[in-house]
């Protein structure tokens, strides 16, 4: 079954020469007849499908559109053109976070995230300890997130995301932020997800993990889809265009 289907995805950003963030600036800008922005195409005609249980790796240079693509799959931003269909509940790990609020405690944030994912109160309560333990944060369960270090926030976000066991998981550079211990835990989760037949979209610069876990790889370069195919093939293609 196709879990994610992307058809002709385009994303254009307007980059204003001067960012107009207020009504007055905008009104003033209307008098200014010069075109106030330049257009930047972050994604050009991207097409792929991901089947159930498949891992799709996305690789490419910085600025090649990987994160933009992930946000489009997660629906937080919309494509300028094209269609994306997603069948199933997504947990996305974008910009190293999952929407935590700094003024709430770790526990409260987990509960809110559980509610976002449609879990009932009892289901959430059942998982809280497991989540905190996985992140090594039991001691801090009643500490506000704003007092967490950045590493702690990422750990908490990641363990919340994976322990809730979504059908589809979108991961953006998780490994880059953790220490070796955390990476080991990540790999354990990855192995478990492979066994459980979860669908994953994995964005990373770490080609060895892409090779190890992904079934197929999408290679992007300056927003263009260079190719989609087996990890070996795409990684060597990527290395040849460096």
């Amino acid at each position: 079954m196709d879990i994610i289907v992307a058809k002709n995805i385009w994303k254009n950003y307007k980059i204003p020469y001067e960012k107009r963030n207020t009504l007055f600036e905008t009104l003033y800008g209307l008098l200014d007849t010069k075109m106030g922005y330049e257009s930047f195409t972050a994604l050009k005609d991207i097409n792929f499908t991901v089947k159930k249980g498949e891992w799709l790796g996305v690789i490419g240079h910085n600025g090649s559109g990987k994160s933009t693509l992930l946000k489009i799959i997660a629906k937080t931003i919309r494509p300028t053109k094209g269609n994306i269909t997603v069948n199933g509940k997504i947990t996305s790990f974008l910009e190293l976070g999952i929407g935590f609020q700094p003024d709430l405690t770790a526990k409260e944030n987990i509960k809110i995230y559980g509610a976002i994912m449609g879990l009932s109160n009892t289901e959430i309560e059942k998982r809280i300890d497991g989540i905190l333990e996985f992140g090594g944060l039991i001691r801090f369960k009643d500490t506000k997130i704003k007092n967490f270090s950045s590493g702690m926030i990422v750990r908490l976000a990641f363990s919340t995301a994976v322990q809730i066991e979504p059908e589809i998981l979108l991961l953006d550079e998780v490994l880059a932020v953790g220490d070796l211990d955390f990476q080991k835990k990540c790999f354990e989760v990855f192995d478990r997800y492979r066994e459980m037949d979860k669908t994953v979209v994995y964005v990373s610069h770490d080609l060895s993990t892409v090779q190890r876990f992904c079934d197929k790889v999408l290679l992007l370069n300056h927003g263009e889809q260079i190719g989609i195919g087996s990890p070996e093939e795409m990684i060597s293609l990527y290395q040849s265009i460096v």
């Binding site: 950003y13 963030n21 207020t22 009504l23 007055f24 905008t26 946000k71 997660a74 629906k75 937080t76 931003i77 919309r78 997504i90 996305s92 974008l94 910009e95 976070g97 999952i98 929407g99 935590f100 609020q101 003024d103 709430l104 409260e108 509960k111 809110i112 995230y113 509610a115 976002i116 449609g118 009932s120 109160n121």
Partner: protein, 255 residues
Amino acid sequence: MIKNLWKYRNLVKRLAFSDFKVRYKNSVLGFFWSLLEPLLMLLVLYIVFADIFPSTQENFHLFLLLGIALWDFFAKGTSMGLHAILSKPGMVRQVYIPREILIFSSSLTALMMAVLELVVFGIFMAISGLMPTSTIIYLPLIFIIIFILVFGFSLALGALNTYYRDVQYIWAVILQAGFFASGVFIDFSAYDADLKRTLLLNPMARILLISRDCVLYNKAVSTQDLTFCLVSALVILLVGYFIFSKLEPGFAEEV
């Protein structure tokens, strides 16, 4: 929209309660602030209008306090709605939820605060020896109407403020004017018909008038007044939703 709110009702509840808690947890006096604030406001207005410009209004302090409580519901509710999107950047950029949930839960938080203020008002009313009469049954309906107004304005303001950050300052000025135009400390019913008709085009002015009638003066609310308030609230909700849904797709890029 209603389908989304229902589907995520668990989240709506959690967000509304956690906002409510956060508002009061961070201050020494805790949630007493929400009670103290309208009382201090009452004190100021009461001194001005009882001693300096005497009012002939019967039970003037209750007249004032009810006006303040209901106006606060509107003013705080819309101001909170205005920040509802911008104040939770993570929930816009890092996860996908239907964004009207953020606005709706902020309106719910405002409703909870308003109920608290109403309790304070009730205590004052009891102390003053004034017992509510049967006409008070209109009050829940009036609360619902204000809630719709708050939600409608919040949808528009929350969305606009995400794109144009100065909307908050413009709205603050409008609220300031509205405080006077809605008759928080003036009884419009004494004005001559023409002026009254114009002033009462403002739904908040009419709401304050009818709620005082039913809570303090044992007067039934006319269907015409209720209909006017309800219809204008629904129109604002529709317009607000229209603006919101036009701007919503770009939120993650603007937050």
